[in-house]
């Protein structure tokens, strides 16, 4: 049924999606907070940049990441000067790419949740002399829980479903950059349809169950 390389691809995919989701929750929260609260003229521009990966084809993102993170690119020069080498063909490179690629799927649900809270709970907390940080952790976060659930599930699932970007910057290295979607592609290309079916059907089942859980546990998450 599934070979060792298939299992290694599955393990790698889950690892990549977990790391990416955790990073995205940390990075996405301040961005979402700022987008939800700001009256700055930059709000539109920042929101648009965050949403870019939704509309851009993965080939565009993958190609620019390959060039930007390469030895001649701006990101590549930075990582080299920090002694990190270049990011393409590494797991870290895939994480960076995935964070960018799945950013809107995490930021937007959290932003919606923050906006839905409104001013009143924050004002109430302020009159009770809660510090902003305290307010955030004891008032905002609990109220925004459905948004965080949606964000985590979508960020995770979207990273699992990523293909074009990984294909373009991964280099198909076993245990390092060969994720499930690439493995399926390889099987199909090599005309190994039976193996492709096992993995592909597994992906369909996984994605369905994840979305089913999301929509049953968290019906309001749909708005995100």
């Amino acid at each position: 049924m599934l070979s060792d390389t298939d299992w290694s691809a599955i393990r790698l995919t889950l690892e990549l999606a977990s790391v990416t989701t955790l990073l995205l929750l940390v990075i996405g929260t301040p961005i979402a907070w700022w987008l939800a609260r700001t009256r700055s003229a930059w709000k539109g521009a920042v929101g648009a940049v965050v949403a870019l990966p939704i509309v851009l084809p993965p080939t565009v993102i993958g190609f620019y990441l390959l060039v930007a993170m390469g030895p001649e690119g701006p990101v590549g020069r930075l990582t080299q000067s920090l002694g990190l080498g270049v990011l393409p063909f590494t797991f870290a490179g895939l994480v960076v790419a995935s964070v960018f690629y799945s950013l809107p799927f995490v930021v937007q649900p959290i932003q919606n949740a923050f906006e839905a809270i409104g001013e009143r709970p924050l004002e109430a907390a302020a009159t009770l002399r809660a510090s902003p940080l305290d307010t955030f952790f004891s008032v905002v976060l609990p109220l925004a829980r459905p948004g965080y659930l949606t964000a985590s599930v979508l960020g995770f699932a979207h990273t699992v479903g990523e293909f074009g970007v990984v294909l373009m910057i991964g280099g198909n290295i076993p245990d390092k950059t060969r994720v499930v979607s690439v493995q399926i592609y390889d099987h199909v290309e090599a005309l190994e349809y039976a193996q492709a079916h096992w993995l592909a059907a597994g992906m369909v089942a996984f994605s369905f169950v994840v979305l089913l859980l999301l929509y049953t546990l968290n019906p309001t998450g749909r708005r995100a």
Partner: protein, 251 residues
Amino acid sequence: MHTRFATSLTVLLLALTFPAAFAAEVQVAVAANFTAPMQRIAADFEQATGHQAKLAFGSTGKFYAQIKNGAPFDVLLAADDETPAKLEREGDAVASSRFTYSIGRLALWSAKPGYVDAQGAVLKQGTFKHLALANPKLAPYGAAAVETLNKLGLLAALQPKFVQGENIAQTFQFVSTGNAELGFVALSQVFEGGKLKRGSAWIVPPGLHAPIRQDAVVLARGKDNPAALALMKYMKEDKARAIIKAYGYEY
């Protein structure tokens, strides 16, 4: 009055559609490594015959899957000789239309001038981090690269440095962006008009791997298409072969 208008309209319509009665359109699936020469051959072909050649570029394995599932291609220019033969056996291609339109050459290439020496000794030094090649499971150029390294006795030592492109076009991209210092690409990708376009290269001698025979075949859908047959004929003519040769292929 009315009829005169109708007549002139008919004449006009006839005049517009008349050339199309002679000129047909052929949908061609082209192996990625043959992209550059085929664009030029197609342009010449259109001029010479009036037929239109619509080109799609990609990997042979993907084309196979698409053809098996009813993709509207009339002709396949494959990157190997196995896929066309298989399609013929399975009844998806016209028997006896198959021929070798080119024999591909492999090159070890770097985007940096002077990085790859003319004997490929850089492989033995192993001072690079990444060696790009096409996935040997999928692409004939990848299989030829592995065969070459095996013959040089370097396969085991260099395998940890492999980064694989899904096809030869992606492999080229890895090297040309400098992300891989060097890689095995199709000579046609770095060669034009009989010389190297940029960077440095070692043209792998044919003795180090089995010849990369690339076969063309007329697919079942194209069997009655005059443009498909004309293209197959044109591919064997001197003008097309001169282009094929200029990109470093043999035939």
